[in-house]
Amino acid sequence: MPASPIDRETEEALIPLSALQHYLFCPRQCALIHVEQLWAEDAATAEGRLFHDKVDAGRAETRPGQRVARGVALRSVALGVTGKADVVEFRGRDHLTPFPIEYKRGKPKAHRADEVQLCAQAMCLEEAFGVPVPEGALFYGETRRRQGVAFDEALRALTRQTADAARSMIASQATPPPVHMPACRRCSLEALCQPARLEAPPSVARWLAAQIGA
């Protein structure tokens, strides 16, 4: 049951699935990556690393007698996203119920970015296959723990809301100003974002005058 083609405009308006996670972590990070294309290469290398980890972990996760697809290309017109699922298992008696599994290098996080990303994949799978996708799993490399995720209405609503917000921010091509927060220390874009300096930047004219000693 392959997905049907969509018109070019809708297709071009699709945003990457990863933007949802970036947006939930920090909207400015999302804009720096997806609007300004900063460190696009770094993101690519990071994804490369991710892939390695996941291949290892993937072996342990695979069960006999189950159809497993890897690196599945996905999109959802309703969400306006496009991307890839690491692994999709097809479960149920006829192997018809997709079960997405996403591998994360780190450990479970307080925010729901990973669940949202997985839920977005589930919603893409529902659109592609026309069947409900009630649950999936996150596998964390650091703890080597697998965590089941139920795609309940609350998570779906958050996913839709995040996709809308990220899509309209990317469409506006505007980068929001930084909000300096503890999470900045874990942000790979900190040096290019300069949250401490640019959160409330001084008037440059006044700053220059002070430097010159006018």
Binding site: Q37, P177, Q194, R197, V204, A205, L208, I212, G213, A214
Partner: protein
Amino acid sequence: MRRMLNTLYVTSEDAWLRKDGANVVVEIDGSERGRAPLHMLEGVVSFGRPGASPALLAACAEAGITISHLDPNGRFLARVEGPRTGNVLLRRAQFRAADNPTRGVPIVRGIVAAKAANQRTVIRRALRDHGDSLPGGGREALEAAERRLTDVARRTLAATSVDLLRGLEGEAAQAYFGVFNQLLRTGDPAFVFGGRSRRPPLDRVNALLSFFYALLGHDCRSALEAHGLDPQVGFLHSDRPGRASLALDLMEELRPVLADRLVLSLINRRQLAADDFTVEDAGGVRLNETARKRVLVAWQERKRDELTHPFFGESMPLGVVAHAQAQLLARHLRGDLDGYPGFVWK
């Protein structure tokens, strides 16, 4: 900010560059003279005539390593760079700003104010370190230039057009280069500065200045490209085919700090002698190949000097400052900052 990687300078005029695995190999007359792993490099600057193999050009392009070819005098000939994704939105913001005569004012103001202030710092440091030993009149001349540069820098803050700022920049250059000879303390007649001359440099001091400006130009251009800006579309320097106007803009404020100061210390510490230069028949002066090596080592060391960036308040090597400034310019063009905070050196 950005890791400071090495720039490979190939000084031999007969050098041929090729790729061997993940290394760049320098060959002269078919024998290997040196090699460096590509992942350690940020750029390659070659003064050689033969050039580089297509395989090396491709590997460098892919790794984001820019190769600049200069002639043995340091004059820019060509450069090879990879297919950058760039940032079309930032470029459009840059072009729109460059097309609008008033939009560029806060940028040019930052550049000219910082440049005049940095020229003033060069003079202040000379006064501080050697003010008492300056020969008759020297001290007064420097003090007068210092005051004039302060005055120019202050007037930039109120200047409302790019044309006015260009005039102020010229005024600062006059005041500064007018006393440049007083900053040379060896008394050696071989190192007398006869006013700025570029094509060709007509004395040894100018030959050195031009040489360092070419290196600085390479670095500024790479920094702008790394931050998604178009090095050809400038604000202080207007468009001219083939000219990297924005790289020239970015260079302005860094010239006194990186290049001029280094020229003065190389000469004043007698690290260069008269016969390190060749005076050509038509009067042009150029640095010899052996001296070029020493001078490049000094340049690399200068770029490693740590300082505190005045706007970020963060410590960084001098070699990364061009990147910091390119980033600030990009942030201004994208709307995060209401002006361009030029690099003011103290």
